[in-house]
């Protein structure tokens, strides 16, 4: 029997099924497209004038941050989607089939990477209309997008672990907000860390989001990347090393 090709096929089937859901469920579609674009426009036009970043137009500062924020918020959907399947009995159906045990989680997280890439591209296009410029090489920009996708993938596993632990979609949503908000706002997504009060600043400086945002920003603004990228990658690796096994374990112990 060809185990590897079965696993591959199972993951593909699950991914396709999840993508169909994103397309058909209006809330999901709004959450994953319109809401991020709205954030982008609001922050640019409402706060843009007030926030001083020292990088020329605020959109060039903001877009890298808000792309990262979008995939961070998007990661919450991974856990919510899993628990939704769990509470509707779909996971039971999957577990009674001879499919690869890993395919449900892998299909879920891969779907979210695909959705993230789609949203990132959509937001970049909107950004280009309102003043964002890719001035420092398309490869730098693509590298930035790849890092964002990888970062989103890592956080999807965090979200999956939490989702499978709390077991109801509503709790997963709340639990998601509890870890996502401090991470997002205690970072350099919206404002430079140097502008924060010292207590928050200590947190923000070591926040993985800050490293990722700083790397993405350096790549798109043509600034030196420095050590940010290594810290970012180390965080991503560390998160995956911890949370992939945790999520898989949780999934296996569903009964």
């Amino acid at each position: 029997m060809n185990n590897f090709s079965h696993t591959f096929s199972d993951i593909r089937v699950m991914t396709k099924r999840n993508l169909i859901k994103y397309r058909r469920v209006p809330q999901l579609l709004v959450f994953s497209t319109i809401q991020p674009v709205m954030f982008l426009l609001l922050f640019t036009y409402v706060f843009g004038g007030a926030i001083v970043t020292g990088t020329g137009t605020y959109i060039n500062y903001l877009l890298p941050g808000i792309l990262v924020q979008t995939v961070l918020f998007g990661a919450m959907q991974t856990g919510i989607g899993l628990v939704d399947d769990l509470s509707r009995g779909m996971i039971d159906r999957f577990r009674s089939l001879p499919m690869a045990r890993s395919a449900v989680l892998a299909g879920r997280t891969i779907t979210d990477v695909i959705r993230n890439l789609f949203v990132v591209i959509l937001m970049t296009i909107v950004g280009l209309f309102i003043g964002f410029r890719i001035d420092h090489g398309i490869f730098n920009f693509l590298g930035a997008v790849a890092l964002i996708a990888l970062f989103g993938f890592a956080f999807s596993w965090v979200s999956a672990t939490i989702g499978l632990a709390v077991k109801t979609p509503e709790t997963a949503q709340v639990a998601g907000f509890i870890w996502v908000f401090p991470l997002a706002f205690g970072s350099s997504i919206f404002v430079p860390v140097s502008s924060m009060s010292s207590a928050i600043r200590a947190f923000a400086e070591h926040n993985p989001i800050t490293y990722v945002v700083n790397t993405v920003r350096a790549l798109t603004l043509g600034l030196p990347v420095g050590n940010n990228i290594w810290f970012a990658l180390a965080w991503i690796a560390g998160i995956m090393i911890v949370f992939v096994p945790l999520a898989v374990n949780r999934y296996r112990s569903i009964s």
């Binding site: 096929s9 099924r17 169909i20 159906r93 577990r95 009964s255």
Partner: protein, 370 residues
């Protein structure tokens, strides 16, 4: 309904010794729609059960001393052992919380087996779980189908996850949609399905691979009488084609209609097993159910009807309903009415019915099923 033109035909045909299947075939070819027939047969015909399965049939399910304890405290199954013969329909009959779902979930690898052993279709359910999954079908107590996919997409997905090829999955989905009368709804998302349609699709999903053994957890709960009858028909057809079925139900009537063998389960114990007839014999035949108007006359009524019963009457003080197993057939009903009439006891309602799960429970355990 009683004057339906078909009834006299059906009765006459049965008098000539035609089987139900022959009658249905004859009527269908004469242009009658399935739902006309369903109504008639539901109300007026006792559908004959399948012939007994051959003695030599081997076991497809062997459960030995299986116990399940939830959260270290709730004993859902207590040392359960049973066998299911290949090609048969076996029913697990029990009230809410008896442990039916727990057993089904263990046998379909959804719950880990901690105490005891079980083999299904030649596989050890723990060691060979993955192989086992590719030969069984499961329709759980609650429909497990994807709301945002269409009926066809649901079935194709399941086919692909059983590792059927794309064309085979597609073809199988078509066949099943047709078989379960979902052709018209096949490309609609499930949000637009009724509960009954969802159940049917769920059952279809469990049949994608033509499983060796099909597990159905309360398959007809939530279906209207017509849907229930149609499902019984589907199950019988599957069994004719050689599928083994293990189903759970709360209705003796349903187990009676479908199953060759019934296991009665209560509080995690198998408290009785046998054919429906064997179980009913324990009750002693039919049940006379009597609803009197005046609460104060209950004792008097009980005294008067006791001689007609095969066992002592049981009284529900809240509803003024008296039930009593009887073995003498319809004449007892008439005798009882006469007796009460001459004593001037007003009867709201009196029926002679077949024993229910509750009656069997009463006979077996001395307590009600609830």
């Amino acid at each position: 309904m009683a004057n339906h033109p078909l009834i006299s035909y059906v009765e006459e045909a049965r008098g000539r010794g035609m089987s139900n299947k022959q009658i249905i075939d004859a009527l269908t070819s004469a242009g009658w729609q399935t739902h006309d027939l369903t109504n008639i047969f539901l109300e007026h015909i006792e559908v004959s059960r399948e012939p007994a399965i051959p003695e030599s049939a081997d076991s497809i399910v062997t459960v030995r001393n299986v116990s399940k304890i939830y959260n270290k405290t709730i004993k859902a199954l207590d040392n359960v052992s049973l066998e299911v013969k290949r090609g048969s329909v076996t029913a697990l009959l029990g009230p809410n919380g008896a442990g039916k779902t727990t057993l089904v979930r263990i046998l379909t690898t959804l719950l880990t087996l901690e105490h005891g052993t079980a083999r299904v279709a030649g596989f050890d359910i723990v060691r060979d779980a993955q192989e086992l999954r590719s030969v069984i079908g499961l329709a759980g107590q609650y429909a497990a189908v994807d709301e945002t996919l269409t009926g066809r997409e649901n079935l194709e997905m399941v086919g692909r996850l059983y590792h059927l090829s794309v064309p085979t999955s597609r073809q199988r989905a078509d066949e099943l949609l047709h078989q379960f009368n979902l052709d018209e709804a096949s490309d609609r998302v499930l949000k637009t399905y009724s509960g009954g349609m969802r159940r049917r699709l769920d059952l279809a999903a469990s049949l994608v691979i033509r499983p060796q053994i099909l597990f159905l957890d309360e398959p007809t709960t939530g279906l209207d009488p017509r849907g229930r009858f149609a499902l019984w028909h589907v199950i019988r057809e599957l069994v004719k084609d050689g599928t083994t079925v293990l189903l759970t139900t709360q209705y003796l009537e349903e187990a009676d209609q479908l199953a060759h063998k019934i296991f009665v389960i209560d509080h995690g114990h198998i408290i009785a097993q046998g054919t429906a007839d064997e179980l009913k014999k324990q009750v002693g035949g039919d049940v006379l159910e009597l609803h009197i108007a005046d609460h104060g006359l209950i004792d008097e009524t009980v005294r008067l009807i006791t001689p007609f019963g095969s066992e002592a009457p049981r009284v529900d003080e809240d509803t003024n309903i008296i039930t009593m197993p009887v073995s003498g057939g319809a004449s007892i009903l008439i005798d009882a009415v006469r007796e009460l009439d001459s004593a001037n006891i007003k009867i709201n309602d009196i029926v002679l019915r077949r024993p229910s799960l509750d009656d069997v429970f009463m006979a077996l355990t001395g307590h009600s099923a609830e």
